[in-house]
């Protein structure tokens, strides 16, 4: 039998055993964003004609939490194992690089979806949120979290110290999520920044995810999903190649 189910299960336990920190805390942070931004902005900004600012904000916050936590899970698990040396427990057994990849990525996807669901549940009382196309919602949540999970795996493979992962998170993931249209529609931006936003892959994840709720988006959701799918394929391929070579894991 394969060792994959156990590695997947172990990765789930790893975050679930400290779920106050890994699930509850990011849910609280997202709720605070909603309360503060909605209080300040409600009535002043109208993004789409029929949608209140609070309602507009909720899907963005959900997706931002999904993405950030998917990244945090695979990257922190791997770097902690590397630093403490207990990575050896998964390197010695007959696990293939594909099983290794699948277990870390899927567990991170689950953490992202857990946090996302939590954010959705606690923000529901504050905004009236339609759900037009649930399958689009699910597709973007899955693809987006998988991309960030694979990116987290890459960061964990590459990094040798915790602060390198933190730098990856603070200087790449955070800015890209904050500037992806979580808090605003990019149509409200000057042309230059609008163009720049189109180069941000996170923008397509958030925009497509939001389309599932409202049925309106800045970009055609099919195009967004195609771009997100290509990004997922590329990042996964890179992670798989590095794992197969044992880059920074097997010397």
């Amino acid at each position: 039998m394969s060792g994959f189910p156990t590695l997947f299960h172990k990765e789930l336990l790893r975050f679930w055993k400290v779920s106050v920190q890994t699930v509850a805390a990011p849910v609280l942070v997202a709720l605070l964003y909603l309360l503060i931004f909605a209080h300040v902005m409600e009535g002043r900004v109208r993004v789409y004609d029929t949608i209140s600012y609070s309602a507009f904000l909720v899907p963005g916050l959900v997706m931002m939490s999904v993405l950030q936590n998917a990244f945090a899970n695979s990257s922190s698990s791997l770097i902690q194992s590397k630093i403490t040396g207990n990575i050896i427990f998964v390197l010695l057994p007959p696990l293939s690089y594909a099983e290794f990849f699948a277990a870390y990525v899927l567990a991170a996807v689950v953490r992202g979806l857990c946090v996302g669901t939590g954010v959705l549940l606690v923000t529901l009382p504050f905004a009236e949120l339609p759900v037009r196309y649930p399958l689009w919602i699910l597709a973007f949540a899955l693809a987006g979290s998988a991309i960030l999970a694979a990116l987290g795996l890459l960061a964990g493979i590459w990094a040798e110290k915790i602060d390198q992962v933190a730098a990856f998170q603070n200087f790449l993931i955070m800015p890209l999520t904050f500037l992806s249209g979580v808090f605003y529609s990019i149509h409200s931006l000057p042309a230059f920044w609008q163009g720049l936003s189109h180069l941000n892959p996170f923008f397509y994840m958030i925009d497509g995810f939001r389309y599932g709720f409202f049925g309106v988006s800045d970009v055609n959701p099919a195009l967004s999903l195609a771009l997100v799918g290509i990004a997922l394929a590329l990042i996964s391929a890179l992670a798989l190649v590095l794992l197969k070579r044992g880059y920074k894991l097997r010397h």
């Binding site: 403490t84 040396g85 427990f89 010695l92 007959p94 010397h251």
Partner: protein
């Protein structure tokens, strides 16, 4: 039948350091084998390549006939490694750790064997204790248990008794000897040469990435022909005997003699110098003497 471990022309370089230079070694099934050498000799590098934690620049290694690269699944299933570093996963208890490790090898209902290992390593009372709360010695026992969950025919122990108390050392060796008696091949690296002398049937000595001695333990011990005479005298050791002095401590002077022929003349000199002998002991050379001699000569 293939050997438990076949190592062919293994070379490995880390940057400018040639860690292994053409290691060639066969370890037959069922043997208790010792891998000795000073720090940096390449022991852990060799074990890492054997376990798939590192890859050789050239050459090949087979475990129970399975190439560690091409047939890594079968090779790793055949191998249990107790790593040198005291590592653990702080999220889990001892039993969880062992169940998870079993699962990595595709073993689901492994509780009967896990219980047996825990019993033999005196871990039963700690089964549900988190790894973080265990002492160093207990963590070491869990590492041994983790290496055994899949009943590997070949067991590699990389310095398993470093910093471990006498009680565990004895319990551990008793258990490992029993596994060896049941047919498991054991490969041991240790800095405690008396352990290697006591346990290993055959020994390889490594220096700077090369095997500088490879023989049965008894043959290695026969390589050294000298013997030691420990003598405690009232007063000072005669000057004429100073060149023979190998060591000196509270228990007396240890003189290195070329053979039994020198015993009587040495005692005569002490007597002639007017010294009274308070204590006397003849000591055979041990593996440490062989080790020192091999390392100096090579």
């Amino acid at each position: 039948m293939s050997a438990a471990i076949e190592i062919r022309e293994v070379h490995k370089r880390f940057g400018s350091v040639q860690a292994l230079s053409g290691i060639e070694l066969d370890i037959p099934r069922g043997e208790f084998f010792g891998l000795l050498g000073p720090n940096g000799a390449g022991k852990t590098t060799l074990i890492s390549i054997l376990a798939g934690l590192a890859s050789a620049d050239s050459g090949s290694i087979r475990v129970m006939g399975h190439d560690v690269r091409e047939q890594y699944r079968a090779a790793r299933r055949s191998l249990g490694v107790v790593p040198q570093e005291l590592v653990f996963d702080p999220f889990f208890s001892v039993r969880e750790t062992l169940r998870i490790q079993s699962g990595y090898f595709g073993l689901r209902n492994n509780d009967a064997w896990i219980d047996e290992i825990m019993l033999n390593l005196d871990l039963v009372s700690k089964a549900d204790v988190n790894m973080r709360a265990l002492s160093g010695g207990m963590k070491r026992r869990v590492l041994v248990a983790q290496a055994l969950v899949h009943k590997p025919p070949v067991i590699v122990l990389d310095e398993p008794t470093a910093g471990v108390d006498v009680e565990l050392r004895q319990a551990l060796w008793q258990f490992i000897r029993r596994l060896n008696g049941d047919g498991h091949t054991i490969v041991l690296t240790t800095h405690y040469l008396e352990e290697a002398e006591m346990l290993c049937q055959r020994i390889a000595m490594l220096k700077q990435g090369r095997i500088v001695a490879l023989d049965s333990t008894s043959n290695l011990l026969r390589r050294v022909h000298h013997l030691f005479l420990r003598v405690r005298v009232a007063g000072v050791l005669p000057e004429a005997l100073r060149p023979l002095e190998h060591a000196s401590n509270a228990a007396g002077h240890v003189l290195r003699l070329k053979g039994y022929d020198e015993v009587e003349p040495t005692l005569a000199r002490i007597r002639e110098a007017g010294c009274r002998i308070e204590e006397l002991e003849l000591m055979q050379p041990d593996l440490e003497d062989v080790f020192v001699e091999v390392m100096q000569r090579s």
